[in-house]
Symmetry: C2
Subunit: 245 residues, 2 copies
DNA sequence: AGAAATTTGTGCGTATGTATG
DNA sequence: TCATACATACGCACAAATTTC
């Protein structure tokens, strides 16, 4: 439990970035909840053993992410520290799962296409390679903040029209219902993590170097027939997953 | 499915590091399995849009990690590339879960102590704050490579002697059995991701800037009584989680 | 109200690291 | 290996806004 993380020089990661990551984590951890503010720049500089300018670079990056806001003469205020919890279970539902943690959930359809299934997609959905599938690219927001960017594939024959249904409702569960699927189950979920790529930067409004959690999920209807394969990307600094058994 | 990750300049993460991360991930993903070698430096330089010097810096870093080995006149050989899959379920077992993916699993006891439970720990274990708990710090290795660094807390009264049992068997499951707990269940698992800190660098043999997956898990006996709370850190480039429902 | 202390904002010069060709 | 350009980090100084006494 002893905190002894070090700032490493000449590691290929700039000091300001390491410090930004540390401060972000401390905020998430609730370390500064008493004051609602980050310690003064001069204090942080001393703590990390760097120049005040370097701390300022770190705070500027966090400001860009909307995590803190500096006010001259007062200090650097914490704007948000919540971390959305996304529960994963046999009945994983996106909108519903995050529903009580945000005032407003939003599901945007970015793009939609019908295409022949790649070998990987076909295998995951349990169909012949080349069978038509629908690809739906979606962006989810909670209170206006991006929380996930997903690519989903559906068997084309069964789910034609799901784009309109999703566009209308902003929810896959609701879209399924409109197409006659009243229930479905999460078969499996793979979770990995990687650095944000350029599309994450724009889609999820991340800063370069941020971490994204990547899930690869398979949903099936109650009979066990695969109905959806999807790959989703979440900003790791604001999302965590919980598996309840 | 289109690969379009970009190398980002002025992101606070040096180009050579970003490229090293990309190549490490590609190796883990099996992209170069046909030849067992990384593409020539010139090719990589062109692919990433950087100078060959920069690629060389990246490969030098990977060589330092023991992932590749450059041979003059031949190319850059891949030394190891496995990515471990860690299944999470109601009956999550560490050693057993990874058992078939490595020739040899190893569980090392790093340190052990009896201490009063912090408010957080006590709450998780469902006991009064200040009650004695046992803290066990462990390092897991698969075929000699670190795959997880964990801190676990146990109710002291019930599990005194678990350190000796773990030291002897290298497995929590086996240690439980020696103490009369023949079965236990995973109640919940939280998963987040963050940058590697200095202790990760040494414990998990990571390079600065690497990503670690962090799990926070609670285990209970068949009666539902909490018996273990633990926080584990995994190198994200070589480990993924799978939740089977 | 006003002076002092605190805290963020800005400028400039210098040294070193990173990346290119 | 060398030269060049730019990013990173430091140290110092001072301005501007706010809080404290």
């Amino acid at each position: 439990m002893t905190e002894q993380k070090q700032i490493l020089r000449q590691s290929g990661v700039a000091l300001w970035r390491q410090i930004a990551d540390r401060i972000r984590a401390a905020i998430s951890h609730g370390d500064y909840d008493e004051t609602g503010m980050v310690p003064p720049e001069i204090v942080l500089a001393e703590k990390f053993g760097v120049n005040r300018h370097t701390v300022r670079s770190a705070l500027a990056a966090l400001g860009q992410e909307g995590i803190v806001r500096a006010v001259q003469g007062r200090g650097t205020l914490i704007e948000r520290r919540e971390r959305l919890n996304f529960p994963i279970s046999r009945r994983t539902r996106f909108t519903q799962g995050l529903g009580d943690q945000a005032r407003e959930m939003q599901g945007l359809l970015l793009s939609f296409a019908e295409e022949p299934a790649s070998r990987d997609i076909a295998q995951r959905l349990g169909m012949a390679s080349g069978t038509q599938v629908l690809r739906l690219e979606a962006l989810r927001k909670a209170d206006g903040r991006p929380v996930s960017r997903s690519s989903s594939w559906f068997p084309a024959e069964r789910f034609r029209g799901i784009d309109a249904a999703f566009r209308q409702t902003g929810s896959i569960t609701a879209a399924y219902r409109m197409l006659g699927v009243s229930d479905y189950l999460r078969v499996s979920t793979e979770i990995t993590a990687t650095h944000a790529d350029s599309s994450d930067l724009s889609d999820l409004a991340l800063s370069p170097g941020a971490i994204v959690l990547v899930t690869t999920a398979l949903n099936a209807d109650p009979e066990g027939v695969p109905i959806q394969y999807s790959v989703s990307r979440f900003p790791a600094d604001t999302v965590q997953f919980t598996i309840e058994n």
